[in-house]
């Protein structure tokens, strides 16, 4: 078990975004978090990365309680994320973007950087090597000097994954990586996420593209109006009556309408 979400509740003022949600993710699996818009999926991501704290409940990562630590420390612990609306460093080139992702695995401060000590140079060379390897992984080889904002939409999404991977995460959080992608791009995204998994990284993914989710995920949790609706394998979820109702509306709803 790499991540345990225990009875998480989050209230914003009087509005309850998540109510008593629990699930746990096994090491090495691809875990899907799905649900209609406003179900609380991104709120869950923001709490795992400690962008804000839950009202109550616990998040345990790798046997350690992580609620209440700083967001940048989460990256040190081995969790890194991508964003629903792409948040690259737009004026940096591809290589620099990925190297920023490696910030937490490097340590040179001002003095070492200015004096270019041997350890600093080794660190930079190593990081550049890691970045090149990740560029190959996401299909951006030889894009070193290209400014991030000049990349195509699909490339930007993949660069965000490479940047997150540069922190050497144990758990990668992907927030709607296929949003706005065409079929070919989605297919190459599927391959990419499988490759990430093959590298021993656990993946937690929020996604609306159901065919992709069903093909990709080992297990899925469904959220609806901040509550957990169901959990299981893609087959179980597809045949779950309450899930179908949440997505398509029940017959009773039709009657009311």
């Amino acid at each position: 078990m790499i991540l345990e979400i225990k009875n998480i509740t989050k209230n914003f003022g009087g509005i309850s975004a998540l109510t008593d949600v629990s699930f746990s993710i096994n090491k090495g699996e691809i875990f899907g978090l799905i649900g209609p818009n406003g179900a609380g999926k991104t709120t869950m991501f923001n709490m795992i990365t400690n962008m804000f704290a839950p009202t109550s409940g616990e998040i345990i990562f790798d046997g350690e309680q992580i609620t209440g630590i700083k967001p940048y420390q989460i990256t040190d612990k081995g969790i890194c994320r991508t964003f629903q609306n792409i948040r690259l460093f737009p004026q940096m080139n591809v290589l620099e973007n990925i190297m920023v992702g490696g910030h937490s695995r490097t340590h040179s401060g001002v003095l070492k950087s200015v004096l270019r000590t041997k350890s600093q140079r080794n660190e930079e060379t190593k990081l550049r090597g890691i970045a090149r390897d990740l560029m190959e992984l996401v299909g951006l080889s030889n894009y070193d000097e290209v400014i991030a904002e000049n990349l195509s939409y699909g490339q930007q999404r993949r660069l965000e994954i490479a940047r997150a991977m540069a922190s050497n995460p144990k758990l990668l959080l992907l927030d709607e990586p296929a949003a706005g992608m065409n079929e070919t791009e989605t297919e190459s995204l599927f391959d990419l996420i499988k490759k990430v998994q093959a590298r021993g990284v656990t993946v937690l993914i929020i996604e609306h593209d159901m065919p992709l989710v069903m093909k990709l995920c080992d297990r899925i949790t469904v959220l609806n109006f901040g509550k957990k609706l169901a959990e299981g394998t893609p087959e179980e979820i597809q045949n779950n009556q309450t899930v179908i109702e949440a997505y398509l509306g029940s017959e009773e709803d039709d009657d009311i309408a």
Partner: protein
Amino acid sequence: MLGELLNPYQLQIICFILINIILGLSIYVTLSSGQLSLGSAGFMGIGAYTSALLTINFDVPIFIGVIAGALAAGILGLIVGIPSLRLQGVYLAIATLGFGEVIRVFFVNWESVTKGAIGISGIPNIGRELFATFRDAGFDPDMIGLKNNQFVYLLVLIILLIINILLIWFFIRQNKSRVGRAFAAIKMDEKAAEAMGINITYYKVLSFTQGAVLAGFAGGLFAHVMSYISPADFAYNRAIDILIFAIFGGSEVIWGAVFGAVFMTILPEALRFISEYRYMIYGIILIILMAYRPQGIIDINVLNWFKKFKKQKGGAVHDSGDQKHN
């Protein structure tokens, strides 16, 4: 021959340019992590007064005084920087501008030490002190055909030039490192930077403090070049002047702030012949710039163009060399 070339007035202008470059660097460093600070004039004042008072009252050597001034400004920068972290953009600018005014008013009112609005005169001059050392060693500027005051200014100029080169070298290296990438990441997207494991608080305070140290350092040098300082030297219009270095030259790359400092120091001097109209020209240039080049004169594209140009020229030289060889 050298004596005819070196005009003391021009030498002095170059010294001002070199001090202004340090001030330009100070605002550039703070801006490189996305923080707009207008406290540079205040920090400059702290550096100037600290160094002036130490050298006058305690006979401290000038270079120790200047470093003490920079450190004092740095410590104050740290104290101001930490609470200011919560402020973004224009709010930080207003708060730091207010800080600068507090410092100035403090200098005006603490008369027993700072002599109030009259200011401090008779501050040891870097050039003269060095000149004295040279003379004691048996060196006479006449030997290289220079008058005494030419030699003094020349010494100051050389020292400032060395300091400038070292500082620019320092910040170019810092920019190309993990620290510089963290600054740039915070400037472009703070939330994303934090998600990448960057300790926002640390790097923001670091860049703010570096800016304060630089401004304090420039202030110390200013005091020992001018030999006279008063609170009016560190008023808010100084802060605006410094801001304009970065806005005019460009704040994306280090050379922008350097260029801005050089140009904006020369411009009023070059326009001296039209006397009071010169500030009108100054204003018009700024308005045109904001309309057509809001990022400042020097940005990354200009630098790339220069690099390409240099490469091409280098290649051409290489070719002609080959031809000669044939």
